[in-house]
Structures are given as structure tokens and as C-alpha cells.
């Protein structure tokens, strides 16, 4: 009479609750301490710490990293998840080397953000929110990145690419594919 909850359930999901905690080098710990010292309440430092952990843990918040954050900030892991999913700059899933984030808010949308995304999609063979199998590219659609005057735009890492056209985008993707892309802004 009860629900059959079998391993080959058609709704597959992976359970990821951390058991172990990430360990960081002394330099990183010092940096974290510096940030923590800035705020009267520990949990306020959640954003800077997330960036650090993300940088150190291969570009996304992995379960041990989250466990570390929860421990350092004295919050629950669901709180971390809540904040992490709110910001498009913080990834909860592994992302590719080139994380292409296309702005889809009003100005960009009007000036053809949809086409830009579509072009990326067809060229890379992935839908927004996915990563190429070789781990090189990730594509996502994000809300306003504050560059409405130069719409449509996207960012790779923290680099802005503005006033996009199909040719311009192709050129950028070519550089990335050849591995010649140079990040100008360090995360």
C-alpha cells in the first residue's frame, strides 16, 4: 500500500549533504579572517566568504566548501544554499572554464539577448544552465549586469563583452575555443 520508493525512481536526484569539511591553506584562512573581522555579525560575511570558497574549490560551492562556510559563519547549510542560489555569480554546480552569462533583462532583451543566447546554444550545443561535456563552456542567462547602455551584453568570468553582434560573439567564442582567451578581470 505504501509508495514504492525504488532506486530506479524516474525522478532521479543526487543527495549531496556534506560529511567532510574543506580545508584551506593558511593564506586563505587569513583572508577569510580579514573579512570576518570587518563585520559585527559573523553571518554578514557570507558573500565575500562564498567568493573565496568558490575560487578555492574549483569555481563552485561544493558540499565540503558549504560545510566549511556553515561552520565558519555559524549558520545552517540551508541558509548558505538560500544565498548561493540567489546570486548568479555563485555557482552551486560545477561550471566550465568559460562561464558565459548572457544578460536577459529588459534593455538586452529588447536589443536581442534572446538571439545571443540562441547563437551560443546552437554553437556550443548546450542549453542555458548546462555545461559542455568537455567542461570548457557553461552557459547561463542572468539578470541585469548593469551595462544597459551597451546592450546586448554578456560576461565571461567577470569580463564584459558589450554591444554584441553575431559576428562579435563568434569571434569571442573562437578565441575561447582556441584557448587564447585572456581574462582581464580577476575574480
Amino acid at each position: 500500500m505504501s509508495q514504492q520508493f525504488t532506486p530506479n525512481n524516474p525522478l532521479p536526484q543526487e543527495a549531496k549533504v556534506p560529511v567532510e569539511m574543506a580545508v584551506f591553506s593558511l593564506d586563505v584562512e587569513a583572508e577569510i579572517d580579514r573579512h570576518l573581522a570587518k563585520y559585527p555579525v559573523k553571518r554578514s560575511a557570507i558573500l565575500p566568504l562564498m567568493f573565496i570558497v568558490q575560487r578555492e574549490r574549483g569555481g563552485y560551492l561544493d558540499p565540503p566548501g558549504v560545510a566549511y562556510l556553515a561552520d565558519r559563519l555559524d549558520v545552517r547549510i540551508t541558509d548558505i544554499w538560500e544565498v548561493a542560489t540567489f546570486y548568479s555569480m555563485i555557482n552551486t554546480e560545477p561550471v566550465g572554464t568559460y562561464h558565459i552569462q548572457v544578460c536577459r533583462t529588459l534593455s538586452c532583451k529588447i536589443l536581442g539577448a534572446g538571439k545571443i543566447t540562441e547563437q551560443c546554444s546552437t554553437r556550443l550545443g548546450i542549453k542555458p544552465g548546462e555545461t559542455t561535456p568537455d567542461g570548457k563552456f557553461s552557459l547561463s542567462e542572468v539578470e541585469c549586469l548593469g551595462s544597459c547602455g551597451t546592450a546586448p551584453m554578456l560576461q565571461i568570468g567577470f569580463d564584459f563583452h558589450e554591444n554584441l553582434t553575431a559576428e562579435k560573439l563568434d569571434k569571442i567564442l573562437d578565441t575561447c575555443e582556441r584557448g587564447e582567451y585572456v581574462f582581464t578581470v580577476k575574480g
Binding site: 509508495q3 514504492q4 525504488t6 525512481n9 524516474p10 525522478l11
Partner: protein
């Protein structure tokens, strides 16, 4: 009252009655030669229910129980179940389907409320009307009897195409 007037009066009535009888003899016959000939049924005739399937052969019924709730004679019994398989392998169109779907024709009054209630157009009235059985228990029809893919349609009926295509007295009313 004399005997003569009695005879005259009764003869008059007999003639009056028989004139009606004889007047009908040359007219067209309405008697349906069932079961030698098929009965013509109205398109909206409410016969035995049909449970429908979609184009992939999956049952349309999602076991929402609305038909059972609408049924005034409480003749529908459903047991819902969960089908955790992939959509194309499922029994029904959704992950919820009717494991058991019984209609007790000993109770059904063919009111059609179940058909009206169905949000998925999964149940309709068919035209099968020969429901008499020798055993009362056989009046309980299960999903195997009701599914459109499994229900055997009787050869003894044809459905009228339109209101004009009717051969009964309903036409005159």
C-alpha cells in the same frame, strides 16, 4: 336499453376499432427485427461506459475520483496507484493511474454525470446496450471490460448520423 340497440352500439365500436387496425396494415412497419437487424441508436445514447486511451495507447484516466464523486448511485469504484516509470512506458498518461476501475451495472442509472465530471475526457458512454447477464456478479465490469481497446462492440446497433436518420416514433414527437 333493448338488445337491438346493444348489438348496434357494439358493432359500431368494433368497426371503429378495427378501422384503426386495418388503416395501419398498409403503412410502413416500425418493428425492429432485433437481433437479426441492428438497432439504430441516437448519437447521444448512453450505453455501457468506455474508458479511452490516448494516441500512444496509454489510458487517459488519472484516477482523480471525480466520476466516483459525481455518481449518484455510487457505482464506480477506483483504486489509484502511482506509476513511477518513464512517461512513454506508463500505463496511463500521467504518473497517477487507476489500478482498479469498476462500474457496477447493477447500480448504474446511466445518468452520464461521470462523463460530465471527467476532466480528462477519459470516460464516455459507449453504445453497447446488451448488458443482461445470467449471474448478478457479472454486472460488475472491470477495467478490462471498459477500456476502449478491450471492450467488444456489439454488432447489434448502428449509430444514427443525424436527427433525421431515425426510424422510431421519436421522430414524430
Amino acid at each position: 336499453m333493448s338488445i337491438i340497440s346493444d348489438i348496434v352500439e357494439s358493432t359500431k365500436s368494433i368497426i371503429k376499432g378495427m378501422s384503426v387496425t386495418f388503416s395501419y396494415i398498409p403503412k410502413a412497419k416500425w418493428t425492429v427485427q432485433y437481433p437479426e437487424e441492428p438497432v439504430t441508436l441516437q448519437p447521444r445514447y448512453r450505453g455501457q461506459h468506455l474508458l479511452h486511451v490516448d494516441e500512444l495507447g496509454r489510458e487517459k484516466c488519472v484516477a482523480c475520483y471525480l466520476c466516483a464523486a459525481a455518481c449518484p448511485s455510487d457505482c464506480i469504484y477506483i483504486v489509484a496507484a502511482d506509476d513511477p516509470r518513464a512517461p512513454e512506458e506508463r500505463t496511463g498518461v500521467d504518473e497517477r493511474y487507476a489500478e482498479v476501475y469498476n462500474i457496477d451495472y447493477g447500480r448504474c442509472i446511466f445518468c452520464g454525470y461521470c462523463v460530465e465530471a471527467c476532466p480528462k475526457d477519459a470516460i464516455t458512454h459507449g453504445y453497447n446496450f446488451e448488458l443482461s447477464v445470467y449471474n448478478r456478479a457479472d454486472l460488475l465490469k472491470t477495467k478490462d471490460d471498459l477500456l476502449i481497446t478491450k471492450q467488444k462492440q456489439s454488432p447489434n446497433y448502428r449509430v444514427a448520423f443525424s436527427d433525421e436518420d431515425v426510424d422510431s416514433e421519436y421522430k414524430e414527437v
